[in-house]
């Protein structure tokens, strides 16, 4: 999976406009302040890994990016389009942003192929034949084309998550969000999903990935964001961040993670 994805403009990363811009984003659940002045720029083609203890707001942050959650203050721009109550803008953004969930969320009543072609047909208004060819193309990329006629319940967890990745790719998104994609998987299946993600990263896809897989972060991430208690505490290049943590919070977190492995 080293060949570049045809639809992604392989422009130089640094001088392109930011793919995602978060500026002083705040969010409350009732009185609970879950995102505090979160600001982050992600350039086109950049790969960002978000880590932090559970409840630190990392999932909430990326779920705000495609508005599965609504933020209450601050600005979020995706590809230059601002997120607001405007439903047309939201449609445009969701078309550009693919998402992979912790619990896969494949549609159990549809076959693998139908899972992949549903959105291209109805949202992108693609002819069915073309959508199926596209789906087979991505299913081949995630190395499960032979399962296309099966239902999600017949696949292993790792296979389901790879289908979920293919399903998101079928919308030809410019940005991919991963919300703890390997947390619900057995150890032997984590690798196959991570390999798929590494392959995707090598094509130059813009990615934001919430994960605790430090090896993955070191291998592909341009930057690592450490969040705690709703704030971004540290941002940096992975090796630098992991070796020279500046704050107590990150040190504690890293020691817990390393002990756990």
């Amino acid at each position: 999976m080293s060949e570049t994805l045809d639809h992604i403009a392989s422009a130089a990363r640094t001088d392109a406009p930011p793919a995602i811009l978060l500026d002083k984003v705040n969010k409350w659940y009732g009185a609970l302040h879950v995102l505090r002045d979160v600001s982050l720029n992600v350039a086109l083609g950049e790969r960002v890994v978000v880590c932090g203890p559970s409840g630190s707001g990392k999932s909430t942050m990326i779920r705000c990016i495609n508005r599965l959650e609504t933020h209450q203050e601050g600005t979020i721009k995706v590809n230059g389009i601002e997120l607001s109550d405007d439903l047309k803008a939201l449609d445009d953004i969701r078309r550009e942003v693919g998402m992979v969930f912790q619990s896969f969320n494949l549609f159990p009543h549809l076959t693998i192929l139908e899972n992949c072609t549903l959105a291209p047909i109805w949202v992108r208004r693609m002819p069915k034949k073309e959508a199926e060819e596209l789906a087979m193309h991505y299913l081949t990329r995630v190395r499960i084309p032979e399962q296309a006629k099966k239902y999600p319940g017949q696949l292993s967890g790792g296979q389901q998550q790879r289908v979920a990745i293919a399903r998101a790719l079928c919308m030809k998104p410019k940005i991919m969000l991963f919300d703890e994609p390997t947390s619900a998987l057995d150890p032997e299946m984590i690798k196959e999903v991570l390999d798929t993600m590494v392959g995707l990263a090598e094509t130059g896809m813009t990615m934001i990935c919430v994960t605790h897989e430090m090896g993955f972060a070191r291998q592909v991430a341009d930057r690592v964001v450490f969040m705690d208690r709703g704030e971004i505490v540290e941002i940096g290049e992975p090796n630098h961040l992991f070796e020279n943590p500046q704050t107590e919070r990150l040190k504690t977190f890293l020691s817990q993670i390393l002990r756990g492995h």
Partner: protein, 400 residues
């Protein structure tokens, strides 16, 4: 996010965005949809309403509940409180409501007992007993209640007359005039004893709660049964004895062409009660069965392994869990009995629906008559479901 200090920013209200008049604004869409739906339904209701007002004018029907004060002139066979045809419609409807409650309350008690027994029989290890219970449940649930009521009523009407009444045990007579049972002559002493029993029950309940609370605090068991015995048995009996211990049993006896004395159940009431009880028991049996099966076997084993005695296992571990599954569907069965008692009208038992129906035929006040029926049932349904929701919330399993 276990913040104990409140962040000052959390006190700020989230900012509001200005409303844009565009179809792609979520709030605009929400408002348009709601206005559209409410508008269409409002228009339909308004249209029906204006037609009704017009029709009432044309037919010269006066609206309002003034008719309730007029003389009803309709005879009612069964009444819990005194009534004669010269009384008002209001009183007639009140009798109807009491008749509805009479059949519903007795039906609920009997159906619960009967249904629970059948549900347990269904789970019996005895194959024959379990199969019979299963056949009963299946057959009773697959036949319309109205058909069953008509069937029971036909059987009761087919019984011999009072002179050849069936007489299974002393003092009990079953004939086409209904069921006669012996009954004690009610006197003030009985009321006092009953009152003492009720207060005693209340006191016992509080005493038991307190005893359990103290036991948990110091671990010393406090027996409840002496208090219960005193409050529930000794005290009422003593009061009754002090009032002269009146005890006259009123035996039904045949005089001429009918019975005199005793407790009378009309064939209509008896058929309705029988039909409602047997029908609902079939549903309750399934609910009880499902409730008991819902407690995993591991719960029994775990409780036994902790050394709880079988009675404690049932009371402390199994029943609280089974009840949680049983109570919501049981509530709807109780509501169903109450609503189904309205089928009384088909066999001539004078419940609220039957009397309201006669009233609206006599006075022409169709809207008011139906409004009364609906209001009565809505208030009964609402009270039962409020009570059951409260009870359910009390025993609900606390989950994350």
């Amino acid at each position: 996010m276990s913040q104990t200090t409140i962040d000052p920013r959390s006190l700020r209200a989230p900012p509001r965005r200005p409303l844009r008049l565009s179809w792609s604004d979520e709030r605009v869409r929400a408002i348009v949809w709601q206005v559209l739906v409410v508008g269409i339904i409002g228009a339909i209701v308004w249209w029906l309403w204006s037609n009704t007002v017009h029709n009432l004018e044309v037919r010269r029907i006066a609206t309002g509940f003034g008719f309730l004060g007029r003389e009803a002139g309709l005879p009612i066979a069964e009444n819990l409180i005194p009534y004669s045809p010269t009384d008002t419609y209001f009183r007639a409807l009140l009798i109807g409501l009491l008749n509805t409650l009479k059949v519903a309350v007795v039906g609920i008690v009997l159906a619960t007992v009967f249904g629970t027994l059948i549900g347990i029989a269904r789970l019996s290890k005895n194959w024959l007993l379990s199969k019979i219970a299963g056949v009963y449940i299946e057959v009773i649930r697959d036949l319309p209640l109205l058909l069953q009521l008509l069937f029971w009523y036909a059987i009761l009407q087919g019984l011999p007359g009072p002179r050849q009444a069936l007489h299974p045990v002393g003092g009990v007579f079953l004939s086409n005039r209904g069921l006669k049972l012996p009954w004690i002559e009610w006197q003030d002493a009985h009321s006092y004893a009953l009152l003492a029993f009720a207060l005693g029950a209340l006191f016992t309940w509080f005493y038991r709660r307190d005893a359990i609370r103290k036991r948990i605090l110091d671990g010393r068991p406090r027996p409840v049964w002496p208090v219960a015995l005193g409050c529930l048995l000794v005290l009422p009996v003593a009061i009754w004895a002090a009032a002269g211990a009146p005890w006259t049993v009123d035996w039904p006896e045949l005089r001429g062409f009918n019975f005199r004395g005793g407790l009378n159940m009309s064939p209509e009431y008896f058929a309705l009660l029988l039909g409602l009880t047997t029908y609902t028991a079939g549903f309750i049996a399934e609910i009880v069965r499902a409730g008991i099966l819902a407690v995993p076997h591991g719960q029994w084993e775990a409780a036994q392994a902790l050394g709880l005695r079988p009675g404690q296992v049932l009371k402390q571990v199994v029943l609280p869990q089974a009840l949680r599954v049983i109570i919501p569907p049981m509530t709807s069965q109780y509501l169903n009995i109450t609503k189904n008692s309205s089928l009384a009208v088909a066999i001539g038992y004078q419940d609220i629906v039957s009397i309201a129906n006669t009233t609206l035929n006599q006075t022409g006040q169709a809207i008011e008559g139906i409004a009364i029926i609906m209001l009565v049932y809505l208030s009964i349904s609402l009270s039962i479901s409020l009570f059951m929701n409260w009870y359910n919330a009390r025993i609900a399993l606390v989950e994350r």
